[in-house]
């Protein structure tokens, strides 16, 4: 299975053979999980989202067209699921109540440099929460998943121009939050674009 391209794997799935499911999962689960984890800021919800993406991949395999990239299709499913999740008022409450702070294992935590790195990571995590869901989606897909504006536009169902604007606004907010001094930075975190 490892030697097969995404398209070839999906052709097998489309014919009703689910044996490539594990291979597809291994190729994309980390990216999908991380996207959902950063988007939803909730580990449990990110797990559910990832499961949902791969279950839907099997269920709606016939809707996948070989001319598109599998990653774009999977991210579309993931983004839709995450948007739905955030839309539900009940889950919005949970999002604020259970905002996840990833705790490092003891092996990750050693000297001061690691603690500094941890602080930086928390600052970025915090800064990302200030973004609107659309901006967060755009920045996560472009900066952390390396997708092009055209692919993000396809996933978000908007124009490339709109994606550019979202990324620009997101970056501006992040710039304010991350490059200004700590005390000012915190204040800046409250400024919505």
């Amino acid at each position: 299975m490892k030697g097969l391209s995404d398209q070839e794997l999906m052709k097998l799935v489309q014919s009703g053979d689910f044996s490539p499911a594990a291979e597809v999962f291994d190729r994309y689960s980390a990216r999908i999980y991380n996207f959902a984890y950063r988007f939803l800021r909730n580990a449990e919800a990110a797990e559910d989202a990832t499961q949902e993406v791969f279950v839907k991949m099997l269920k709606y395999a016939t809707q996948f067209h070989g001319d598109a990239k599998l990653s774009t299709w999977l991210f579309s499913i993931a983004a839709n699921h995450c948007r739905d999740y955030l839309r539900k008022a009940e889950n919005r409450n949970r999002e604020s109540d259970e905002t996840l702070i990833h705790l490092p294992t003891s092996s990750e935590l050693a000297p001061d440099r690691d603690l500094e790195r941890k602080e930086d990571e928390l600052r970025v995590q915090k800064a990302l929460t200030v973004l609107t869901p659309e901006q967060r989606e755009a920045i996560l897909l472009s900066r952390y998943q390396g997708l092009s504006y055209a692919e993000i536009a396809q996933i978000a169902g908007c124009s490339e121009g709109a994606v550019k604007t979202r990324v620009f606004r997101a970056m501006e907010t992040l710039k304010k939050a991350l490059t200004e001094p700590a005390s000012g930075g915190n204040e800046c975190l409250n400024v919505m674009p």
Partner: protein
């Protein structure tokens, strides 16, 4: 200055390297010659570098297992794809029609089988519900029924699949709460929170290993809400929470179990304490261990005296070099709150 505006607007794209080459070159030339834009560009680059600190989180291994379980459920073991002499269309049509007749007939039978009132013993109430705020969910095949907690059999036989569990709080005019779920029919169990039958159903939901629904998570939230005011919580409930804490593979569920145990007043403190101590000793997840320390400290604050083994464990955690730093700090703080 319009050029400055255009260049600054293009800076994120410049960072993402998604700018066309001639535009990229022109932007860089402008930045080199413009002090203001160079400053802006430096800030963008700093932001960009800072964003690098966000590392990927590892995918929990259970997620793969969960997905592969799902795949396995779609492809029954031992299924052999026949070498295929296609079944004649007419035969397939007949088989489908027969299946439909069995399904519809069976559903009709199942639906009507639940209606007749029992001759004696437990009494079934067909909806509408007796708890004031219970609203029935449409359940198309079988009937919905409301059962009093006192009518629940002492043992839940087998491992019935229950889904869509919902919890209904009292509405102020009644002390009763209700647990509604779908089994072969839509069932609502009503009763006082301390009634054995209700606790039994709740314990069953808590110990269900199905993570694909929110039932268990909702059950623990319900325990927190409903039982925090009780003077002596039901030991079965504490045992069920302790089991979740000990055996559940999902750390989110284990964290919620600790929170629920923490909310239960010290009536069953010793059972809760042993579960928390066990989690602090053995749970692989630092977040669960931190929550366990928090809950132990809370017990201490409420006047519970700790045995020397618990205090020793906290001391050990506070000084253990290979323990997570946050766990160590929490353990040290907890020791400060215990009356030694």
């Amino acid at each position: 200055m319009p050029e400055c505006d255009a260049v600054r607007e293009a800076m994120p794209a410049l960072l993402l390297e998604s700018l066309e080459s001639d535009l990229r070159e022109r932007s860089h030339l402008h930045i080199e010659g413009c002090e203001e834009c160079a400053l802006q560009w430096e800030n963008w680059r700093l932001t960009w570098t800072a964003m690098d600190s966000l590392h990927d989180v590892p995918v929990p291994t259970r997620l793969r297992v969960r997905f592969l379980d799902h795949v396995a459920s779609l492809t029954p073991a031992g299924t052999v794809v026949p070498m295929a002499r296609p079944r004649p269309v007419v035969r397939r049509w007949l088989a489908q029609a027969a299946a439909m007749v069995i399904l519809v007939g069976g559903s009709f039978y199942a639906g009507h089988r639940t209606i007749p009132a029992p001759v004696s013993g437990p009494k079934n109430y067909v909806t509408p519900a007796t708890v004031n705020n219970v609203s029935t969910t449409p359940f198309s095949i079988a009937e919905s029924q409301v059962v009093s907690a006192s009518q629940i059999s002492p043992d839940i036989e087998g491992r019935p699949q229950i889904r869509n569990v919902r919890f209904l709080e009292p509405d102020g005019t009644s002390e009763k709460v209700a647990i509604a779920f779908d089994m072969t029919s839509h069932v609502t169990v009503t009763g006082r929170p301390d009634e054995k039958g209700l606790v039994r159903v709740l314990s069953y939901v808590l110990q269900n290993q199905d993570h694909s629904s929110l039932s268990k998570s909702n059950a623990m939230a319900f325990v927190k809400e409903t039982y925090s005011g009780e003077t002596s919580p039901n030991p079965d409930l504490v045992r069920a929470l302790a089991n979740v804490l000990k055996n559940d593979t999902h750390e989110g569920a284990r964290i919620k179990a600790v929170e629920a145990l923490r909310s239960i007043p010290p009536g069953s403190a010793s059972a809760a304490r042993s579960a928390l101590v066990e989690a602090l000793k053995n749970d692989p997840n630092p977040a669960v261990r931190i929550k366990a320390i928090d809950a132990l400290a809370n017990l201490a604050k409420s006047g519970e005296s700790f045995d020397s083994a618990t205090v020793d464990l906290l001391r050990q955690k506070a000084g253990q070099n290979d323990e997570n730093l946050y766990v160590r700090v929490k353990a040290a703080e907890a020791l400060g709150q215990i009356n030694l």
